[in-house]
Amino acid sequence: MGARLEELREKARQLRISSLMLAHQAGSGHPGGSLSAADILAVLFYHHMKYDAKRPDWPDRDRFILSKGHCTPLLYSVLSDAGFFPKEELATYRRLGRLTGHPNPKLPGVEIATGSLGQGLSVGHGMALAGKLDKKDYRVYVLLGDGELQEGSVWEAAMSASHYKSDNLTAIVDNNRVAQDNMTAQLKGIEPVDKKFEAFGWHAIRINGHDIPSIIDALEEAAETKGKPTVIVADTIKGKGVSFMENQPKWHGKAPNDEQLKQAVGELQNA
């Protein structure tokens, strides 16, 4: 397991570097929330989820939905690395073609379009209900941002999933505490996130979202939890791993310039 953990940490490091390079190359994009969620996606795509990148329509695959759809630097990095589409295509990020600024449903590995916050959990729950109807054992993972929890529709979906006892649905909150305008707590406080979900009938697990073993354990606990959906509240740092980006709202949706990229990649490589 030690070697596996090291491998996952290295994957997360490469996803962070790739995310920054994509935003830099495009001259726009969302690095902050990509860096905060890199460890979570590394565990999901390289360790936990069941999928076949060569058969993106495989009916029994686990589903992943990036409800915080602006973090395509991270999503496209992991999907291309996992083999859903050629890495060379990353050169077209935010240019004509399939790699639109927010997830494009025509891109293999993208289960649904997102980009308008607050929609992914309902869609994921619909997929979970279909799985139960079809007696399939796939699981559905929905990654939400903490700012996104200010959208009321998230809580409609939260009510539905516990009402239907959809234990094949796992929500993961990338709780980086920073939104576009300000710190989430200043904008409109959402804590206590885990207690809110518990009150809505969910099993809640709170972890350090940068600790790979904790992410693995939480996903396994979610899979073992029966009769209710599970939320993993992953406390993270926006811009994680890059000193000048960490906890800075201004790095929500801004691309690094040449110099900033060099410094950021250097810090990540030496971390």
């Binding site: 009916p59 449903p105 289960e111 649904i112 379009a113 997102t114 980009g115 308008s116 607050g118 929609q119 992914g120 959990l121 309902s122 869609v123 994921g124 729950h125 619909g126 997929m127 979970a128 209900l129 279909a130 799985g131 109807l133 079809d134 009321g152 529709s153 409609e156 979906a157 009510m159 539905s160 009402h163 239907y164």
Partner: protein
Amino acid sequence: MPKAGTRDGYANGLLKLGSDSRVVVLDAGVSDSTRTQKFGEKYPERFFNMGISEQDMVGTAAGLAKCGKIAFATSFAPFLMGRTQDHQLVSVCYSEANVKLVGTHNGLAVGEDGPTAQSPNDIAMARAMPTMIVICPVDAVEAEKATIFLAEKHKGPAYLRLGRPDVETLYDDSYNFELGKASFLKNGKDGAIIACGVMVYESLKAAEKLGQEGIGVSVINMSSIKPIDREAIRKAAGTGAIVTAEDHNIYGGLGSAVAEVIAEEGLDVEFKIIGIKDRFAESDTQEVLFRKYGLDAEAIAAAVKKAVGH
């Protein structure tokens, strides 16, 4: 023929589709009124009452559809269409999810519940939604046929606009619903009324009244609003006068759709739109509201007379 609501036709269509295990029906807590309850009683495992949360219902329908289901998401037209526009755009249409939005209780015909329940703008919203088709059946038979059509012959997003009132049944079971195809219920040479939904009945009354005055008009049921039947509009224009009639705002609905065709094709025709004149109504019976707000047969007949130059 007995009277029935288009919502009842929808329920019949769903029951006929019920043996197809891909068909799932969702409702937002008003299934007795929308009539989806009937499907729910027969196929409880494929009926999802999502409670009073339309946005969640539409998103859930999209998720089910992306797993191979044919999802009918149902509520009252104003709440279904107004409240969930963004979810329709992102989770349904852009995502190419096979979701049918079914809105009942449309227009002033809903009557006593008043302006917040009268959906004066649902056709406009649905027409502007990329890839979404829009159907407004006239009677229970057409509603049933359209429901079956949407499941069996149209893979993709649709808006089915249904009413509350029981209406005469115009078609019999031999009627075949075709997307983009209008039907001429009456033929006349002096003018044409193009209508949808409950306004078809007012148009038929108007045509009868006009006939007594020696003015012969066609009455066209334009149930397929998007795509629209351009050939039928060209034919109607041949009479020299077109009046459209809809229980909807005069902006963005059937009248606008017909006007677009007239303008694009440069058709030489007198043209009037009958609809809600960009204002809010109040509560009363359909009959009283239609009279006061200019949607009744009298208003249509007066517009036709103007258009034909009488």
